[in-house]
Structures are given as structure tokens and as C-alpha cells.
């Protein structure tokens, strides 16, 4: 392990971390603007041109607010909860391939922090860990609404993880690898997995809405029943951490969806671009395309939020266990049969 390698990875991690935070920050702005557009309002427009400085103002507000730790709460776990939520949201970015290897000054630099050969499983591990932040925070608040919300979050995440895992198995049958880098490289040009696995993608997407606690599955923070949900007792930047974690989760799951099903940094005509721009600039265009896809997905998350009303709890469980899981299993069987037939002839 030479120092150049460490420095290279350190810079990459810092850049990805910075980009994640900036995207999460501007997701809050985008969400309000999209909501305003869909509801025929103006949205934030006071701070800076078009209200572009609004996230900064919100950030300053979050930091300056008084911090309250309830006397009857479990002090340490109350602090650990939001920290864990943000940590789990951020570490998911480690295995996502952001672009094809790039040449900088005669040196090939991979635009991925860690190309581990169990990348897809790592993502699942991080997703399943994410619920601890909500559970610990909700329990430590010592508030029955927070506790109910924490329990809802846990059962929702466990239920939808199963369907999510099953939908990915059908994809893995086709790709024969668990490395995200190889999965993306197989989708060269317009050979994207979504054309072969439309049902699998649909199930995966519905499950990622549930895993990120986004509407229409935002039952853990259902205001009409649970006040604020698991973050009822939180104030100041700890609340900010929870909200931030939700937006980073949204960013990471958009990136995972784009990488697994929508070709990642591949786009039609990429060979032509690579031949003309050379190995330094062409990967950057691929990365830009990848981010374009991610932004589309983030917009889709917001669009759905203001289109579909929140599910009832029993509807959520019915959809997960009786709708998505059987569909995902059927998808695996169909994929398996088709692959067997293709290999036979």
C-alpha cells in the first residue's frame, strides 16, 4: 500500500463526501421548488436569486437553534441515533462506481472507492444497518410516539428488504457477478439491464421508496398519527442529521438504481466520445451522464411524493408481503427458465 494510493483514495472519498452533502443540501431546495411547481406556488425565492441560498439559510438556522435533550431520555443513545443515521447513509457511496477509470497525468485512476467483489451485498448490509439510527433515536427519546415510529420503521424496513433482495437475485442471475463495477461495465452503450428486467426494476424501485422512508411509504414520520415520528423530541442539528440522512439515502438509492438497472455511466455513443475526447475527458462525460440519471431519479422521488397519498399501515404490509414478494419470486423463476432456454439453444 503506497502513499500515492492512500492519497488518491483520500481525495476521492473527500470529493464524493462533499458531493453527497451538497446534493443532499440542494435536494431540500429542489424538493420545495418541485412541490411548489406541482402545487402551482412559487416556493422559496427570498434568499439569493431564485432562493438559491435557501439551503444555507436553513443550515445556519439548524446550527443556531437551541439544542434540547429531554431529561428522561437516554442521553448517549439520544446522541448516537442521528449520528448513526447519517453515517449509514454516507458509507453506501463507497462501492458505487462513479465513472470508468480516468487517466490523470499518465496514471489510471478508478473513479470508485472500493471495487469489492460483494458490492451488491455490501449495499444491502448498509441498507439493513440504516434502520438502527431510527430505532435507537426513537427508543432513546423516551416518547411513546417516537417508539411507535421506531418500531414501524423497523418492521417496514425488514419487510421490504426481502422483496428488494429477491428482485436483485433475478438481476444477478443475468450478470453472474456481485461487483457493481462489473455489472455497470456489462451495460455498455444502451445495453441496460432495465430492458431485460423491467419487473425487477419496478419492485426494486418500490422497495427503495420504502427503505428510504419516502412518501407514499413515510409511515415512520406520519404526522397525523405520530406527531413528528421518531424525531419528535429532536431539535437543532440532530434533527438536521435525520433530515439530511433521508436526503443522502435518497441520493444513494438513486445512484444504486441508476447503476444496477439504468446503465450507470454508460450512454449510447460513448465509444465515439471516448475515441474523440481521449481517456481523461471521456470518463468525466460518463460521470456527468450518471449524475444526470441520479438527478432524474431524485426528481422522480419528489414527483411521487406530491402525487400519491400515504399508504395505511395494513396496506403497506399487504403490498410488501402479498404483492411484491410473490411477484419477485415469479420474476426469479421466469428469469431462470429464460436463461436455461437460451443456454440450451
Amino acid at each position: 500500500m503506497d502513499s500515492a494510493f492512500v492519497i488518491e483514495k483520500f481525495i476521492l472519498v473527500a470529493v464524493i463526501f462533499g458531493i453527497s452533502l451538497v446534493i443532499a443540501m440542494y435536494s431540500t431546495y429542489a424538493e420545495r421548488k418541485v412541490a411548489a411547481y406541482l402545487q402551482d406556488r412559487l416556493g422559496p425565492d427570498r434568499a439569493g436569486p431564485f432562493g438559491i441560498l435557501q439551503p444555507l439559510a436553513d443550515g445556519v438556522k439548524m446550527f443556531m437553534k437551541e439544542e434540547i435533550i429531554p431529561a428522561s431520555s437516554n442521553r448517549w443513545l439520544f446522541i448516537v441515533g442521528p449520528g448513526l443515521a447519517l453515517l449509514c447513509a454516507c458509507i453506501g457511496t463507497a462501492v458505487i462506481p462513479w465513472g470508468s477509470p480516468m487517466e490523470i497525468g499518465g496514471k489510471i485512476v478508478p473513479l470508485q472507492v472500493a471495487d469489492i467483489n460483494v458490492g451488491v451485498l455490501y449495499i444491502f448490509g448498509v441498507v439493513s444497518l440504516g434502520v438502527y439510527g431510527v430505532m435507537i433515536g426513537g427508543w432513546a427519546s423516551n416518547n411513546k410516539y417516537s417508539l411507535l415510529s421506531a418500531i414501524r420503521a423497523a418492521s417496514q424496513n425488514i419487510s421490504y428488504e426481502i422483496a428488494m433482495g429477491l428482485s436483485v437475485i433475478a438481476l444477478l442471475l443475468m450478470t453472474n457477478t456481485l461487483s457493481l463495477k462489473e455489472i455497470v461495465d456489462q451495460q455498455h452503450g444502451l445495453n441496460w439491464n432495465v430492458w431485460y428486467q423491467p419487473l425487477g426494476f419496478l419492485i426494486f424501485m418500490v422497495c427503495s421508496f420504502a427503505e428510504t422512508n419516502r412518501a407514499p411509504f413515510d409511515l415512520p414520520e406520519c404526522e397525523t398519527e405520530l406527531i413528528g415520528g421518531y424525531h419528535t423530541e429532536y431539535s437543532s442539528m440532530k434533527l438536521g442529521f435525520y433530515l439530511f440522512a433521508e436526503y443522502i439515502n435518497m441520493f444513494v438509492s438513486s445512484a444504486v438504481m441508476a447503476a444496477l438497472y439504468w446503465g450507470g455511466y454508460n450512454y449510447p455513443g460513448m465509444d465515439y466520445v471516448a475515441a474523440h475526447l481521449g481517456p481523461t475527458w471521456a470518463p468525466l462525460i460518463g460521470t456527468a451522464v450518471f449524475f444526470g440519471k441520479i438527478v432524474m431519479f431524485i426528481f422522480f422521488f419528489m414527483w411521487v411524493r406530491w402525487t400519491i397519498p400515504r399508504f395505511r399501515y395494513d396496506q403497506l404490509m399487504n403490498l410488501g408481503w402479498k404483492g411484491l414478494i410473490p411477484l419477485a419470486i415469479a420474476n426469479i423463476i421466469i428469469t431462470g427458465i429464460v436463461i436455461a432456454i437460451i443456454e440450451k439453444f
Binding site: 443513545l77 448490509g125 444497518l129 430505532m135
Partner: protein, 167 residues
């Protein structure tokens, strides 16, 4: 370097396992158990068993411990609800613990440092090799154990169904 990491993580494993037992609050016990499992995951990575590491991470840390935490949060256990133990149970506990200590001392006395096992194939823990082993020579036991799990699942569903009819 790998050896130093091992000793560091092993120490952490032991400390967290002890904290699981000594924590007064059952929720804290579960959280320490999660940390213990995390150190096990690191051990698997050090042994180059990546698949086992990530499965341990997903199944034990991500699924089973969430269920433990789930149930404990609903039970709301604390010092007041803990049943007081009778003197008889305490005496039995002391005798059982003493027997365990005697056994441990006996086994430690005859223990010697074994020579490290060297795998013929160091990449055995990688997904591809593990899958070929499981679906090749070990296909029958693998399928049988999955059948056992299926039977347990059907049984659990059946038990919960029967309760619903009676209520």
C-alpha cells in the same frame, strides 16, 4: 500488520461480549451484541472470507438483531420488572458456574498452541468458490438444510394463523 489488527479486534470482541453480559439494561445488551457481531465481521474479512463477512453483516447485524431490538423495545424491560430470584436458584447458579470454571481450567491446562491451518485454496471464502462448493459436492446437505428452513417457516405461519382463528 494483519496480526496486530487481529489482536486489536479480538480484544474489542472480548470487551463487547463481556459488556453484553454486564450491561444492566437489556437494550444496551443488544446494542453491545451488535457491536460484537460487527467485530466478527472484521474477523471474517481478515480471514479473506468476504462472503461470510457480508452475510454475517446482513443476517446477524441487519436482520436478527433488529428483531431482537424490536421485541425488547416492545417489552419495556427495566429493573422494576425484573423478577427477584430465590436463594435456591442462586446456589444452583454458583454450583453450575463453578463446574464451568473447573472444566475451563482443565481444558486450558492441556491446551497447546496449534500450528496455523493453511488452506489449500486461500480464495475459498470468495463468493464464486463458495457457490461452486455449495452447489457441487455439498448440494444434498445444502438443499436439505433449506428444506428444514422452509418447514420452520411454514410452521411459524401455521402457528400464528391458528391463534388468529381462536381470537
Amino acid at each position: 500488520m494483519s496480526t496486530q489488527v487481529f489482536y486489536f479486534v479480538a480484544t474489542l470482541s472480548i470487551i463487547f461480549s463481556l459488556l453484553v453480559i454486564f450491561a444492566k439494561n437489556p437494550i444496551h445488551s443488544v446494542l453491545y451484541l451488535i457491536l460484537t457481531f460487527f467485530t466478527f465481521t472484521v474477523h471474517y474479512v481478515l480471514l479473506n472470507a468476504q462472503f461470510l463477512a457480508v452475510v454475517n453483516f446482513i443476517v446477524y447485524m441487519g436482520a436478527i438483531m433488529v428483531l431482537f431490538l424490536f421485541v425488547l423495545m416492545l417489552l419495556n424491560l427495566n429493573k422494576d420488572t425484573e423478577p427477584s430470584k430465590s436463594p435456591l436458584i442462586k446456589i444452583v447458579g454458583v454450583i453450575a458456574g463453578g463446574c464451568l470454571v473447573v472444566t475451563l481450567i482443565g481444558s486450558l491446562k492441556s491446551a497447546s498452541i496449534s500450528s496455523p491451518l493453511i488452506l489449500k485454496n486461500p480464495g475459498l471464502g470468495l463468493v464464486e468458490n463458495l457457490g461452486k462448493e455449495l452447489f457441487g459436492p455439498f448440494l444434498l446437505p445444502f438443499e436439505l438444510s433449506s428444506l428444514l428452513l422452509l418447514a420452520a417457516m411454514v410452521g411459524a405461519v401455521l402457528l400464528s394463523k391458528r391463534d388468529e382463528v381462536e381470537a
